[in-house]
């Protein structure tokens, strides 16, 4: 568990399975049944070809594609600065927004290898974040 807030995610029906996975410490990725594309963000179908998708466990590993150290937090993040918002490029391909935690923000670099961690709030909310390897 990190010191960052764990906001409740107002997710919609199509992404329920994805978020249930996060609550169970599993990062699931949608893959198209027809064209095999990995679909991010999860939406229950493949926008490339319109086919259905399956959910499969991700490796949970990737590399920092870009990042920003936030010094002026918004909402419930106010007071948590400095913290890192990043695009992590998963080894499966997609670049996803997240936080990188457990590292010195000033020493983070693009290309740093990261691994998924799961944060759980007392109210049942859960988020995927990443930590440097």
């Amino acid at each position: 568990m990190t010191a960052l807030p764990i906001p409740e995610v107002p997710h919609l029906g199509e992404a329920d399975t994805f978020w249930r996975g996060i609550a169970a410490d599993e990062l699931l990725l949608e893959r198209c049944r027809s064209c095999s594309a990995v679909v991010w963000y999860p939406r229950g179908f493949c926008p490339s070809c319109g086919s259905g998708v399956t959910l499969e466990p991700a490796s949970g590993e990737g590399a920092v594609y870009s990042f920003s150290v936030v010094h002026r937090g918004a909402g419930e993040y106010r007071g948590c600065e400095p913290y890192v918002v990043a695009y992590v490029e998963l080894d499966e391909g997609p670049r996803i927004l997240t936080n990188v935690v457990g590292c010195d923000p000033d020493s983070l670099v693009i290309g740093a290898r990261v691994r998924v961690v799961f944060d759980h709030g007392p109210d049942g909310s859960a988020l995927y974040r990443f930590t440097t390897v």
Binding site: L4, P5, P7, V9, P10, H11, L12, E14, A15, A37, V38, V39, W40, Y41, R43, P47, S48, Y65, S66, F67, S68, V69, V70, H71, R72, G73, A74, G75, E76, Y77, C80, Y83, V85, A86, Y87, L90, G93, P94, R95, I96, L97, T98, N99, I110, L127
Partner: protein, 390 residues
């Protein structure tokens, strides 16, 4: 209809002179800028048969965007458009108005844009489909998305914070001549770099201003333009395009101007070398750097080097930009600055910019809008405009 009748012209523009408007509603600001643009064109409200405005929450307490606003303004219209692409929306709408005029659907189309984020900030609401995966990480408003783009641009191309700062410096040099500008002080590269870091690598002075206000323009047919006494500006070419996250394969270092720009140039029959003045959406300094590259004013990755040594400074820089002071210093009404970009380009082509920043013999101007967020999904709109007598 002859070919000339299918041409569309911007006949009137207006920018609300105020930047803090605590006592007026947003619809009322739409009305004030609408009447201002009509007066500038020399047209009456009854001449308007097309109306375009975006559908953002800026319209509260008016419920139905363009429909409610048409009623509020008392307009009778045969063409309506409420394209919502964020800050680029008015620029898309000028293109749509020109197309509607070419198709004979209307003769005189009004485009308005307004908002009051300074006096009445709207609270951010979670709950969009894509937002579930983006709104929960503590992004510092819109800044962090652009910061992610800037960081990647620096990594791939060696762009520096000092190069980004040149965009703000050029805008501030222009804003000193604009008595209505929100910020009129000239700033140095050092002052930008020493301003507080908001979301690295972007400092406070890498960000545009937050202002109340708005603007409007009137797009008319060639037949109508010939009856008006004010100089009209021809809409020579237009392009629009979207760049989104593409299943997670998004590019942080290019915008949809890479598509909308070439489309507008092709339609206009001109090239970047023909452009005398540019209005470039400047939500953040990095927005301008990426746009200059995407529009072909320099190679991809060279934007940082391009803006060094005063390239953007009017009147004699290689690419004079945002001579009103831009979103960086003058105005970014309603957190969406597209309309101000159109207004200043028309001023330049009419030789009505502030004398110190008027580009000599300005014949072709380009307007580029960047709506949404380049760190996630965005829509570009490009217009190429020509002086009426050219």
């Amino acid at each position: 209809m002859t070919g000339a009748d299918r041409d569309a012209y911007i006949a009137g523009v207006f920018e609300h002179p105020r930047r803090v408007i605590p006592e007026l509603s947003t619809p009322r600001i739409h009305a004030e800028v609408a009447f201002g643009a009509l007066a500038d064109a020399g047209l009456d409200r009854s001449d308007i048969d097309g109306y375009l405005c975006d559908g953002s929450q800026n319209f509260r307490p008016v419920a139905f965007g363009v429909l409610s606003m048409a009623e509020y303004l008392g307009l009778e219209c045969t063409y309506l458009d409420s394209t919502e692409t964020g800050g680029s929306a008015p620029i898309v709408q000028v293109a749509h108005a020109a197309a509607a005029i070419a198709a004979g659907k209307c003769q005189a189309a009004l485009v308005t844009s307004a908002g009051r984020p300074r006096s009445a900030p709207t609270s951010f609401e979670r709950g969009s489909v894509e937002g579930s995966f983006e709104d929960v990480w503590g992004m510092s408003g819109a800044v962090t998305g652009y910061a992610l783009s800037a960081q990647r641009h620096m990594y791939e191309f060696g762009t520096t914070s000092a190069q980004l700062a040149e965009v703000k410096v050029a805008a501030s040099l222009h804003a000193q001549h604009n008595p209505n500008a929100f910020l009129r002080d000239v700033v140095s590269v050092e002052e930008v770099l020493e301003s507080p870091m908001v979301s690295s690598p972007l400092h406070r002075l890498d960000c545009c201003v937050v202002t109340d206000g708005g603007g409007a323009c009137v797009v008319v047919s060639g037949a109508l333009a010939r009856q008006l006494s004010r100089p009209c500006v021809r809409v020579l070419g237009a392009g629009e395009a979207v760049r989104h996250s593409d299943l997670g394969r998004l590019s942080l270092t290019s915008t949809a101007a890479a598509v909308s720009g070439p489309a507008a140039f092709a339609a206009a029959g001109v090239t970047p070398r023909d452009i005398d003045y540019v209005s470039l959406y400047d939500s953040f300094t990095i927005t301008v750097i990426e746009t200059i590259e995407d529009l072909g004013f320099c190679e991809k990755g060279e934007g940082g080097r391009f803006v060094m040594d005063g390239a953007l400074v009017a009147p004699h820089g290689r690419l004079p930009f945002n001579t009103d002071g831009g979103g960086m210093c003058n105005n970014h009404p309603g957190n969406r600055g597209g309309i101000t970009k159109i207004v200043e380009a028309v001023r330049q082509l009419r030789s009505e910019a502030f004398p110190a920043v008027q580009v000599p013999d300005c014949e072709h101007a380009l307007v580029n809008g960047t709506g949404g967020n380049i760190g996630t999904r965005m829509a570009s709109a490009t217009l190429v405009l020509r002086r009426g007598d050219a």
